[in-house]
């Protein structure tokens, strides 16, 4: 194939036309392959959600019949199970808890992580290098090991069965990985920009706050998105520390309150998954470009 272009005789009209046709055909089959691949990928990824959107409106008699086609309504759709989720369970409380815990933890993570990352990436310090690596290795300590001692610490702080215990504990998941990512983003910002700011009269802190932070914004957004998803997904600590339903987050609230022993509230469970998945995915997609810019400028090069 590689030789075809090199030996092409452009004075021969036939040969040129043939080469053009071949390129076009290759291009067209590439487009078809791309669309097929994209649709298959989307269906595989979204399968449980597409199917859940149908299921949440199904009547029991329709759902619990193995002969029925699971992808269509064999009986009339009903709102009953969806309204059950909102009226009879604390779904909205779980969602609210997830949201405020997530935002608070992201706030703490940035307040603590951003200066630390700047210090490690930019300021000269004897222990900078090893310390940066040490912070990353902290990320490797598994939650299943830490919760044994956390249960002690949480009870010493008097936070058993409170959502606040999660606010205390979750930054242990988000800070190390955020510092590591932010270090990469900050290193990618040219030193000259900062030096120029200092020549212009800003102090080191001033140039950090007014020049470096705005430039690192895509990276910071990447960290915000990543940290928020980590807290919203967290399951082990929430399961171990929070029992009263008013304090539960989405992650544990839905599976523990809508599955009671052997009784599964299937339609409501599906509805819960959809109502959580769609808004988060929507926000995530809005920020995706920035998330990627952040990753390209930082983590990739560090």
């Amino acid at each position: 194939m590689a030789g075809a272009a090199a030996t092409l005789d452009i004075t021969d009209g036939d040969q040129v036309a043939r080469a053009r046709r071949r390129t076009l055909a290759r291009h067209r089959s590439g487009r078809v392959g791309l669309y097929v691949a994209a649709i298959v990928a989307a269906l595989l990824c979204a399968a449980p959600f597409i199917w859940g959107t149908i299921t949440m409106f199904k009547q029991d008699a329709d759902l619990y019949n193995a002969q029925n086609n699971p992808f269509v309504f064999n009986l009339d759709p009903t709102w009953a199970k969806v309204s059950y989720l909102f009226d009879e369970t604390k779904f909205l409380t779980f969602a609210w808890n997830t949201l405020w815990v997530g935002l608070l933890v992201v706030g703490i993570t940035l307040a603590v992580g951003l200066p630390a990352a700047y210090s490690l990436a930019r300021l000269n310090m004897r222990w900078g290098g090893p310390l940066g690596i040490a912070i990353f290795f902290v990320y490797l300590i598994p939650p299943t090991l830490l919760f044994v001692s956390f249960s002690r610490i949480v009870s010493i702080l008097g936070l058993q069965d409170s959502t606040w215990s999660l606010v205390v504990v979750y930054p242990t998941i988000t800070i190390p990985v955020s510092v590591w990512l932010l270090m990469g983003f900050l290193k990618a910002i040219p030193r000259d920009v900062e030096e120029q700011a200092m020549v212009d009269g800003y102090s080191r802190v001033g140039s950090f706050l007014r020049v470096v932070v705005p430039l690192a914004l895509p990276g910071i957004i990447a960290v915000v998105v990543f940290a928020f998803t980590l807290t919203a997904h967290e399951f082990i600590y929430a399961l171990a520390f929070v029992a009263p339903s008013a304090h539960k987050t989405i992650s544990i609230g839905v599976p523990t309150e809508l599955i009671r022993g052997d009784v599964f509230y299937w339609q409501s469970l599906q509805a819960a998954a959809i109502f959580v998945a769609v808004p988060i995915a929507f926000v995530f997609n809005l920020l995706l470009e920035r998330f990627i810019t952040g990753f390209t400028m930082g983590a990739v090069k560090s």
């Binding site: 510092v179 102090s203 995915a281």
Partner: protein, 320 residues
């Protein structure tokens, strides 16, 4: 007190009073002094990590050497008895084996599928944003909820997958996805991979976008087809990022038990039990905090070795 000047130029403060000016300058110099700033900026993170990670980490190690339980919180030293008990516990060895299989297979699958998905996501086509939205759903949904949705997909009686297979004439009756040893393990791996792939794809996509277009264009002009460019340009240049995506995925896989907890609770007969879930069941459900800590402790050196190996490889690739 003498304050050293930082490396930066001092700016002219326009304040009239000499005293206020002196204060301003002192503050400006303080804000320029790296030897104070560097530790000061680092302090909150270090304090937090020592207080809530390092101390609990050693506390957990201490727990593993005692007989502490949920009912009897006093710490009585028992030496290595817990480790001895674990090493003679066949469920522990099954969990260790399952953890390694679970991580290895889902990582290989994740990287291959994520690479393919990343190539799709960076392409330009109609409905790009709809496809992106659908493709990212597995990662953006809290895993516990996604796992519950899969629980029904794999239900012993009503599984829609079984229904399709029955319609195609490939199956009569039911598959019992979560009821048989190997199928249950395969299901857990599949669901976990399904969940990690979009994240890995986004990370790889970021790496792909940082490859300069002209390299690919030049190769295309020279007549290199899609597959040749993929193997000889894209993948080699993309390899460090693929490794980083693999590292994130491996950490998320190795320490996670949510999928196992919701889909199988480690069953049938511990066929899908992994170390994190076994440690959880021992310490929280069983109340044996000491043994739970001892089991979880095995995760750390394995993870450490894996991470160091991957980071070393990344560094080597980058200097090549």
């Amino acid at each position: 007190m003498t304050i050293q000047r930082g490396g930066a130029l001092q700016h002219e403060a326009a304040t009239p009073s000499a005293e206020a000016r002196g204060l301003d300058e002192a503050r400006a110099r303080l804000a320029d002094r790296e030897s104070i700033l560097a530790p000061l900026f680092l302090l909150p993170a270090v304090v937090y990590i020592i207080g809530l990670v390092v101390v609990p980490f050693f506390l957990a190690i201490a727990f593993s050497l005692t007989d502490v339980t949920a009912g009897d919180p006093s710490l009585d030293w028992v030496g290595f008895r817990n480790f001895d008990a674990i090493l003679h516990d066949s469920v522990f060895w099954t969990s260790l084996k399952n953890t390694l299989i679970f991580t290895a297979i889902s990582m290989v699958l994740t990287l291959v599928l994520a690479k393919a998905l990343a190539l799709i996501l960076i392409a330009n086509f109609r409905f790009k944003y709809l496809i992106r939205f659908l493709v990212l759903l597995p990662w953006t949904t809290p895993i516990a909820l996604a796992a519950v949705a899969w629980l029904w997909m794999l239900d012993s009686t009503y599984s829609p997958i079984d229904w399709i297979l029955r319609q195609l004439g490939l199956l009569s009756g039911n598959t019992y996805w979560l009821g048989r040893d190997h199928l249950a393990m395969a299901s857990v791996i599949a669901v976990h991979t399904w969940r990690i792939v979009p994240l890995a794809a986004v990370i790889i996509m970021a790496g792909l976008l940082s490859i300069p277009d002209d390299i690919n264009d030049a190769a295309e002009i020279d007549g290199a087809g899609f597959w040749r460019r993929l193997w000889e340009i894209t993948i080699p240049l993309n390899l460090p990022v693929i490794a980083v995506a693999g590292l994130f995925g491996a950490i998320l896989t190795f320490t996670d038990m949510t999928v196992v907890y919701i889909l199988t609770k480690g069953g049938p007969e511990n066929a899908t039990q992994v170390l994190p879930s076994y440690a959880f069941f021992k310490s929280i459900d069983g109340g044996d905090l000491a043994q739970g800590a001892a089991i979880a402790l095995f995760l750390f050196p394995l993870l450490l070795a894996g991470a160091v190996a991957i980071l070393r490889a990344v560094r080597k690739m980058e200097t090549m």
